[in-house]
Amino acid sequence: MAAALCRRFFSAVRVSGVLQAPPGACLSGLTLNLLHKNSTKVEPLYQCKFLHTTLSRKGLEEFFDDPKNWGEIVVKSGDEWHAKHLRNKSNEDLHKLWYVLLKEKNMLLTLEQEAKRQSLPMPSPERLEKVEKSMGRIDLVIKEREVALRLLQTGHENPRPGEWRNDFLGRTYWYNSKEWPIPWYLNKKYNRRKFFYLPRVEHFIRLRIEQHLKKQARMKSLEKKKQLLLQKKFPHLAAQSQN
């Protein structure tokens, strides 16, 4: 597992434009294990045992796990990437990590499909969830950074322009603009949409507001009732929580 990750990391570096090292040569010394935070073992690249010596599956090998793990029931994997750790990484690092995770997910999907085909259980399916969550968190961190930059440069939070509009039923919603090749006054479908409401709808707006307020009141009274019940059942805990 760790060996495949070393290979993947260096192939990611290769993709970014560094000179391609011949497949036989190995980089000794420190290998950065970007995939899992708390990995069990970090092997230097020269200890990796390749499946074959020809170049035919040099790239396609990455669609499969380390050959040592084939046939195992449980494959150990480390912790997933959390947002607070990802926020400390540079954009370049996040970009590279995205591709490492992408390749890992491809490998896991391949394994899952093959397991289904052979009617066998997939070894450690929780790895898929870990990878998906980590990728989602990378997205989140990058979105946060984009939003911050955009706020500083333009003063807007969202990338798409929009505004609050009323629909024909009197409901207010955030209307996101869409990119069109023609101006709005030539857009037949758009011109048929009504962003205003007639006076008869005001009565129903009041009813809707009443519904919303009643629901809120109901939830509040339910909370109060629950609190009273708990106090009656466990008076000693109420005294403790007050202190």
Binding site: S11, V15, G59, H95, M135, W180
Partner: protein, 154 residues
């Protein structure tokens, strides 16, 4: 971009090619149902990917030389029914047949080889195995009888 509906910028004739920084598209290598030529690799890809996308994906991310890609969409059947007698649809997916360049070949490996399990001495499995072996030995008849059953006395 995150999963869900992704809005791409509008394309008009003459616009530059759209580049994506962190692609959210995944490719699953599958074992072909029908035997394929040696240089052909079969993938299941997202419905939004084209053959050009597949070629660029493999060349840039995996550094695999690709000569040609052919795609087709596999329709997922809608005849199965659940306990409420509602039709359950199997999802559609796109299949890509990638022919490798530079005369490379690919054979789908066996990802679930049979492994000989040697239980470590002192563990529960080892004790169980020992017990079962002893039981089996007890059940077998006396070999000196030469396979003759106990029905024949003496």
């Amino acid at each position: 971009m995150a999963t869900g509906k992704v809005l791409y910028p509008l394309y008009q004739l003459g616009n530059p090619q759209l580049r994506i920084f962190r692609p959210n598209f995944f490719m699953t290598l599958v074992r072909p149902g029908v035997s394929q030529p040696e240089d052909t690799v079969q993938f299941r890809i997202s419905m939004q990917m084209t053959r050009v996308d597949v070629k660029n994906y493999l060349e840039k991310i995996y550094n695999v030389p690709v000569s040609v890609v052919r795609t087709r969409i596999q329709y997922g059947a809608n005849n199965k029914r659940n306990h409420k007698n509602q039709k359950v649809k199997k999802p559609d997916y796109k299949v890509a047949y990638v022919q490798l360049g530079q005369g490379q070949t690919f054979q789908f490996p066996n990802l679930f080889p049979e492994k000989e399990e040697t239980p470590e001495p002192g563990s529960v499995e080892d004790i169980q195995k020992q017990f079962m072996e002893n039981e089996r030995q007890r059940q077998t008849a006396d070999p000196r009888r030469g396979g003759v059953t106990n029905w024949f006395g003496l």
